[in-house]
């Protein structure tokens, strides 16, 4: 089965530093997503992306966050100035369509630790 790949699997950074989390969605997929899970809490939606623009974003996704599809294969999440509370597991996902009922494929996540 095709996979969504995320790199790195672990990222440690200092507070205030910029981080970029990278994802390679499945090649024929058109919709892309970022979710995160803070330790001990629920998986939360951050942002969805289609046709080179954000479809929807949550309250968490403030001006410190941005997403980009810089080429035909990568999908990145940038945090400009990390805070301690950004420490979480970040999941990238993709789907063929955005109908709301089809399958999202998730990557194995990037564990971000902000010190």
């Amino acid at each position: 089965e095709p996979e969504v790949t995320q790199t790195p699997s672990h990222q440690v950074t200092q507070m205030g530093q910029e981080v970029i989390l990278r994802c390679v969605p499945i090649s024929n997929h058109l919709y892309f997503y970022w979710y995160r899970q803070i330790l001990g809490q629920k998986v939360e939606f951050l942002v969805s992306f289609y046709n080179n623009e954000i479809s929807e974003k949550s309250e968490i996704f403030d001006d410190q966050f941005s997403v980009e599809r810089p080429d035909g294969s990568n999908f990145t999440l940038k945090i400009r100035s990390t805070k301690l509370e950004d420490s979480a597991m970040y999941f990238c996902a993709s789907s063929e369509e955005g109908q709301g009922y089809e399958k999202l494929f998730f990557g194995s996540g990037t564990q971000l630790s902000v010190l």
Binding site: E44, S55, S95, Y101, L104, F105, F106
Partner: protein
């Protein structure tokens, strides 16, 4: 608005015995519902989905779930647990396409399988 409640944070079963993971949802429209599983160091994998067809949904690895609208439930079951079923399970409800296909996750149920 939509929400998902998984009634048990941890479930412990013996190998070969049935597994029941409970999930209740709240949605202001006819929802699409999913169960995802996460094994250690792996991505979220779709077990099964309900999209307003048959109310009893069969998934991979012998799991099935029954959609009960009157009870707003979508419990996951398996008749005989295997050691490889030890993982965390998430009940998920999908938003509308107009809302960016946002998924809302339950808190997760961690399953321990005893030999």
């Amino acid at each position: 608005a939509q929400s998902v409640t998984q009634l048990d944070s941890h479930v412990s079963v013996s190998e070969g015995t049935p597994v029941l993971l409970r999930c209740n949802y709240s949605s202001s429209y006819s929802p699409s519902l999913f169960w995802y599983v996460q094994h250690p160091n792996k991505g979220l994998q779709l077990l099964l989905k309900y999209t307003s067809a048959a109310t009893l949904v069969k998934g991979i690895n012998g799991f099935e779930a029954e959609f009960k609208k009157s009870e707003t439930s979508f419990h996951l079951t398996k008749p005989s647990a295997h050691m490889s079923d030890a993982a965390e399970y998430f009940c998920v409800v999908s938003g509308l396409k107009a809302a960016g296909n946002k998924l809302t996750f339950g808190g997760g149920t961690r399953v321990l399988v005893k030999p």
